[in-house]
């Protein structure tokens, strides 16, 4: 392989493809980091909410509903689900002595149940919705499927919108206040219980949205929730819990590191490298790249 071929066929597309995968990871990690950072809850069933979103898109799409409409409908349908999960599972143990461990265990149990339920309802086989935007675009010899270009653009828009709501609106300020000091926020008139339920539901809705967007690329099957979980947790830790920009930077960086490592060293090393990064951050910079939202 000559140097020019290597650059054109291998290195350059690697960066573009890595970008699309990075956006996918950021989308999954976004809801996780919000729930983790603001509620201090480890949601082990986040991957299963992502799977529910993907299955909802698949089933509703098969029933004839347009993909563009699903992008709005599925996240809205996820909100009551998230509210119910928060009310029934998180709130009863929210004040326990060891909240991290208890919520982790409860959501771990939920993940087991949801995964099996999906199999009962939709069967064990892999399914895949049609690609909403077919075709590919060629730029200077690099081929990029149109849907991936769309994913990169939409992903950027979603992240910006979420960041705007959290950092720039009154609603976001209330959420951050409640996360920072619950009692203080309550005494200032913030409806803390509602804010917590809403935040959890928002994170769940984001997972559902990621499911709708990624189903055409990564396909849909009952155990798909486990797919992103280690990577998503790593992104949250490296980026800093609750930090939206941290998740973006960490998500994009880690997928590039993975892609280049699989090229230069060997694909087998991608997992140990991700894990090694997580350990290094936990040991040397536990607050992550950007520190923790609401606890700065």
């Amino acid at each position: 392989m000559n140097a020019l071929d290597y650059l054109q066929f291998v290195l350059a597309p690697q960066v573009v493809n890595g970008l699309a995968l990075g956006v996918a990871v950021v989308l999954v990690a976004l809801g996780l980091t919000i729930i983790f950072g603001m509620l201090d809850v480890i949601n082990m069933s986040h991957g299963e909410f992502y799977a529910i979103g993907a299955y909802a898109a698949l089933a509703l799409g098969a029933a004839g509903i347009n993909f563009w409409f699903l992008l709005v409908l599925v996240p809205i349908l996820m909100v009551p689900l998230g509210m119910a999960a928060e009310r029934l599972l998180i709130r009863p143990v929210f004040d326990s002595k060891d909240r991290h461990v208890t919520t982790l265990l409860v959501t771990f149990g939920l993940a087991l149940v949801v995964e099996d339920l999906l199999k009962v309802v939709f069967g064990p086989n892999t399914q895949r919705p049609p690609t909403p935007i077919p075709g590919a675009t060629e730029l200077a010899g690099i081929i990029v499927p149109n849907y991936r270009l769309f994913l990169i653009v939409v992903g950027a828009a979603i992240v910006s919108a979420v960041a705007y709501v959290v950092y720039r609106t009154r609603l976001g300020a209330m959420v951050r206040a409640a996360a920072f000091d619950r009692n203080m926020a309550a005494s200032l008139g913030v409806p803390v219980a509602l804010v917590y339920a809403g935040t959890f539901a928002f994170g769940v809705a984001l997972a559902g949205l990621a499911g709708v967007l990624l189903a055409p690329i990564y396909s849909v099957f009952p155990t798909m929730g486990r797919d992103f979980i280690l990577l998503a947790f790593t992104v949250v830790i490296v980026g800093g819990m609750g930090s939206i920009w941290g998740a973006v930077v960490a998500g994009l960086l880690l997928t590039q590191v993975q892609a280049l490592a699989s090229l230069v060293i060997s694909p087998v090393w991608t997992d140990p490298i991700v894990f090694g990064t997580m350990v290094a951050f936990l040991v040397f910079r536990p607050q992550g790249l950007f520190g923790r939202l609401g606890h700065a």
Binding site: N125, T126, T131, S266, P267
Partner: protein
């Protein structure tokens, strides 16, 4: 827990006692066949085919008077595609249910572990799915039989076809990074190189890879005519649809292992599966009266098409029936002798169990996906595909 344990133990003892006293009546009691197969977890779809195939065969055998006048009774246990669960469930079937024969294991780890357990319990077992060569070569067992085609039979057939279709093609190899993936790639590579193909390069992707696009650059730069892959299940869905999205499927012949594209994932792959070719022991398209009857009955019972796992599992019960009737007994030693060298009819054609390694010899087919169906495009006679007997234990 205590009381359950006691009750269970007491019950088990009671059952054992009744089994002893009723020995004389054995002739009219049903023949019990245990099935340890994944009914949950990643391999569920395969376990489903195994179950459907065996249930259909048992129904037909029972309707026609059973095996040597005795009805067949199937007992299913979920092995969760985990060898430690498989062994525990198999032991339950051997010890508590006193099954006469065991079938159903899918992943090769489970098959190997169950083979050892069968030896220690002096019972016979068979696999209809695992295709790792080791099961009937260096890790062969006198108590394990395999009625499906092993990896080498598949690659020989596929390589023979490839040499005719694309002589001296440059082949790129993409396998899943674990023992099975590496050995299937190695097996096909040696078959293909013998028939004149050149190797363009190879890469092994971790299991459950999300994105295969990171390997596409290397593939494009090599400019191969043929891509061989041995990924399976969801991984195939991702690999093939991503190849299609990137426009790489034009002018590229994709071939692979028999488990790469199956009836479980072909729907999800859709148009990206078009043209995929593989070497297998079965296709619903086989043009014989036996197969047409089998496919019709299978669809009738399950609303699905049989695939190689369903067909091989269906055929197994008929081998067991023939062996028991020939031996005139269900005793392990007699049935083993009867199974060795046995030739019997299946929807796939005549199969023969080679006495030296317990591997079934069978005609092999090369099938290619056309309009979502596997069309047979070539076939290899059973003795041409089988390869030497490499089992030294018996």
């Amino acid at each position: 827990m205590k009381t359950t344990g006691f009750l269970a133990a007491a019950l088990g003892g009671l059952l054992a006692a009744t089994a002893l006293t009723s020995g004389a009546l054995a002739q009219s009691t049903p023949i019990k066949i245990g099935v340890v197969t994944p009914l949950s977890g990643t391999y569920t779809p395969i376990g489903q085919q195994v179950r459907w195939g065996l249930e259909l065969a048992a129904k037909e055998i029972n309707a026609a008077g059973g095996i040597a006048g005795r009805q067949v009774n199937l007992i299913f246990e979920d092995e969760e595609a985990n060898p430690s669960v498989a062994v525990q469930k198999a032991e339950k079937l051997f010890q508590v249910e006193k099954v006469d024969f065991l079938a159903g294991t899918v992943n090769s780890g489970s098959t190997l572990a169950v083979a050892q357990l069968a030896e220690r319990n002096n019972k016979l077992a068979a696999t209809t799915v695992s295709f790792a060569d080791s099961i009937t070569t260096d890790k062969c067992s006198p108590n394990m039989f395999r009625v499906n085609a092993r990896a080498e039979q598949q690659s020989v057939a596929l390589a023979a076809w490839l040499a005719k279709e694309k002589p001296n093609a440059k082949v790129y190899y993409l396998g899943p990074d674990y023992e099975m993936g590496r050995s299937t790639v190695a097996a096909f590579k040696s078959s293909a190189e013998k028939t004149g193909s050149a190797t363009g390069g190879e890469v092994f992707a971790p299991l459950d890879s999300k994105d295969y696009t990171q390997y596409f650059g290397q593939i494009r730069a090599t400019r191969p005519q043929v891509l061989y892959t041995s990924v399976a299940g969801n991984d195939t869905v991702r690999l093939l649809t991503q190849l299609q999205d990137f426009g790489l499927l034009t002018n590229l012949t994709v071939v692979g292992a028999s488990g790469t594209v199956t009836s479980q994932n072909i729907g999800a792959i859709g148009a990206a599966a078009e043209g995929f070719a593989t070497g297998v022991g079965y296709s619903p398209q086989i043009d014989s009266p036996e197969n047409k009857k089998f496919v019709a009955a299978f669809r009738d019972a399950t609303k699905a098409d049989p695939d190689l796992y369903g067909a091989d599992s269906y055929g197994l019960l008929f081998a067991y029936k023939a062996a028991v009737e020939k031996a005139g007994s269900t005793e392990t030693d007699k049935v083993r002798e009867a199974l060795r060298g046995l030739t019997w009819q299946t929807p796939q054609g005549a199969k023969t169990i080679r006495a030296g390694d317990h591997q079934a010899m069978q005609p092999m087919y090369v099938v290619r996906v056309t309009k979502g169906k596997f069309d047979i495009i070539d076939s290899v006679a059973s003795d041409k595909a089988i390869g030497p007997d490499a089992c030294t234990r018996f």
